[in-house]
């Protein structure tokens, strides 16, 4: 009888639920026109993504699975359950538990406060693809529309890299072990809390503040004579990210102050990171085409991070056509060093279900991959 009741309840909830599913399969190709010696000259991969949503009253189950199969680098292959979480909404708060990806920040080139999920180095070291993290979170929604969020991350998953033959393998000829060493216990949780409020007076603004304690997003790679492995250290961070709208121009500020634990052991002092930017769009410069201008500047007293004194300039040309065609040209210059990067990208639709993107990227970096030029193309079929 009890079993019958459970079956009835399950059938009832299934019949009254909304279910959504979407997929894409894709092919990605990267050709390395300028690269370091003895590295692969191209990567050819197949991609697949499945996204499922199941809604029932105030409950939601969400999952996102990603697959990458590289035809010449097995270490890039993965099947990730990137997200799988249960979400329940109450009157003034939501509760989520499971594997999840979150986004923090406001800038375009580098979100220095987006610290909770770790980067997916297998997919593309030069982009901001992230891996999901196992976490629980509560979002409180106040009467004045401000939002207070709490996150707790249970543990850190191994940090995987492409093979030694990959142009993006960062350790010359040293072997890499994905097993993490921790400065404290592996089980030490990472916590994050943020408070966000929107203003709509003379100036419209979204203002956010946050506090983080846990394993820092920066990774130290320790040399254990035979191999290198990732080492995570504890830190506390105060962070802020804000957008102000003044006369149709978006002004953006991101900043953080990090207090590191075990300074003597890790040899990293407390440090700050700051990013400021503005974004303005010239509308209908030709027919329906828009031209967006983005300029950002990054500064930090930690010279081990990539955006420590860098200027970013970008132009975004949007055609506003049925293919949603968009061209992006961006330039990053390290102000003290001679390092720089140029990036050009096109993204659009061939048919309603077929999306194409191509990019050309040049990097000159004395500390990472010397002089590097790549052409990339990705086609995705959505169904």
């Amino acid at each position: 009888m009890k079993r019958l009741g459970i079956i009835f309840l399950l059938l009832y909830s299934f019949a009254n639920a909304e279910f959504e599913i979407s997929n894409f399969i894709g092919i990605e190709y990267k050709s390395y026109i300028k690269k370091q010696n003895k590295k692969d000259s191209y990567n050819l991969g197949l991609t697949y993504q499945n996204e499922m949503k199941y809604f029932f009253e105030d409950t939601k189950i969400y999952s996102k699975i990603e697959v990458l199969k590289d035809l010449n680098d097995k270490k890039r292959d993965y099947l990730h359950i990137d997200e799988l979480y249960y979400s329940k909404s109450f009157d003034s708060f939501d509760f989520d538990i499971g594997k999840k990806t979150i986004f923090l920040g406001t800038l375009e080139a580098n979100n220095l406060v987006d610290i909770f999920n770790r980067q997916n180095y297998q997919k593309d070291s030069l982009s901001n693809y992230k891996n999901g993290s196992i976490m629980a979170n509560v979002n409180y929604f106040m009467e004045d529309d401000s939002i207070l969020r709490f996150y707790i991350k249970a543990f850190e998953e191994d940090i995987k890299m492409p093979s030694k033959n990959s142009v993006y393998y960062p350790f010359t000829n040293k072997e890499y072990s994905e097993h993490i060493d921790f400065s404290n216990k592996k089980e030490t949780p990472s916590i994050l809390t943020t408070y966000t409020k929107s203003y709509d007076e003379d100036i419209s603004a979204d203002v956010s503040f946050g506090f983080f304690y846990g394993y820092d997003n920066n990774i130290i790679f320790k040399d254990n004579s035979q191999f290198l492995n990732p080492y995570l250290f504890l830190s506390s961070k105060l962070l802020t990210y804000n957008t102000f709208v003044i006369d149709s121009t978006l002004y953006k500020i991101e900043g953080s102050y990090t207090k590191t634990n075990d300074k003597e052991k890790i040899r990293i002092d407390d440090f700050y990171q700051l990013g400021v930017g503005l974004e303005y769009t010239f509308e209908q410069i030709y027919k329906n085409h828009n031209l967006g201008l983005i300029t950002e500047y990054y500064k930090s007293d930690n010279h081990n991070i990539s955006f420590d004194n860098d200027l970013f300039l970008a132009l975004r040309y949007t055609l506003n056509d049925s293919a949603s065609s968009e061209f992006l040209a961006a330039y990053v210059q390290d102000i003290k060093k001679d390092d720089n990067s140029v990036y050009m990208k096109y993204n659009g639709r061939l048919t309603d279900n077929l999306n194409i993107s191509t990019d050309l990227r040049y990097i000159k970096s004395s500390t990472y991959i010397d002089e590097h030029l790549r052409f990339g193309c990705e086609i995705k079929y959505y169904f």
């Binding site: 979407s22 990806t101 986004f103 929107s198 709509d200 121009t249 509308e283 209908q284 506003n320 056509d321």
Partner: protein
């Protein structure tokens, strides 16, 4: 005879007393009173070669009844197709004589992005509709012609008048409206560009009256300059839903 004369005199007097702003207010009043609505919108983009491309959106909207002259309606639109932008959400808090507050949710990045909403005349989703065509038509956003004329459109008696956008960011110099004399709903709008040349014509059809509120079913817009057109159809449209205003907040910009 005397009674007929008297009634005719009242009708004529009323007609003469009617101004274009009165017509505009009546048109707005006829679309008011939906309280909150939920719609599924199908948009078909047709190019010069008659190739078609479909977009499907789900939208909820909330009527601002406290007309304080500052805040307008609120809406939350979710894109269902094309599939590469499925789940993208667009939250708008309309302002009467200011730029709207707008946020975009990008599901691939899990990012909520505030956007600048100066763009009134830009194309909406690659269609022939601009952002100002799909936002609510507060009469106070326009100056109206002094006079109106009467004409026939598809065998219906209509008022014809002009309105001129106050917003300098509008893509139009003027709009010529054809309003049904009986029901005070818009049947046709001719849009003139900044060079005062005819740019687009929109035709409205399939009105249904729910309570005191008129809801349109189809809008066809033809661009006379690039020869492209867009058909917009409200596949589903429910009003008086008693939706909570809290639904139109950043809380719901998520997967």
């Amino acid at each position: 005879m005397r009674k007929t004369l008297f009634i005719s005199l009242i009708v004529v007097t009323n007609l003469f007393a009617l101004s274009t702003i009165d017509i505009a207010i009546k048109v707005k009043q006829n679309s008011n009173g939906y309280e909150s609505a939920k719609s599924v919108i199908e948009m078909t983009l047709i190019d010069q070669a008659k190739n078609q491309s479909k977009r499907v959106m789900q939208s909820i909207s909330f009527e601002n009844k406290k007309n304080n002259g500052i805040n307008g309606d609120k809406s939350l639109m979710e894109f269902k197709t094309p599939l590469d932008v499925k789940g993208t959400k667009f939250l708008t808090h309309e302002k009467i004589n200011k730029n709207n507050n707008q946020w975009l949710y990008l599901p691939a990045l899990k990012r909520i992005k505030r956007i600048s909403s100066k763009n009134k005349s830009g194309s909406f989703m690659g269609s022939e509709f601009s952002y100002e065509d799909i936002s609510s038509r507060e009469p106070s956003k326009y100056l109206h012609s002094k006079n109106f004329s009467e004409a026939k459109l598809d065998r219906l008696d209509v008022f014809v008048y002009e309105r001129y956008p106050k917003d300098t960011n509008s893509g139009y110099s003027k709009q010529v409206l054809y309003v049904d004399k009986k029901s005070y709903v818009i049947l046709k709008v001719d849009y003139y560009d900044k060079k005062k040349e005819l740019l687009k014509t929109a035709r409205y059809s399939g009105y249904k009256k729910i309570g005191n509120t008129y809801r349109v079913k189809n809008i066809k817009i033809q661009n006379h300059q690039n020869l492209k057109s867009t058909n917009l159809e409200y596949v589903e449209d429910e009003i008086h839903l008693n939706l909570d205003e809290k639904l139109f907040s950043k809380r719901y910009l998520k997967d």
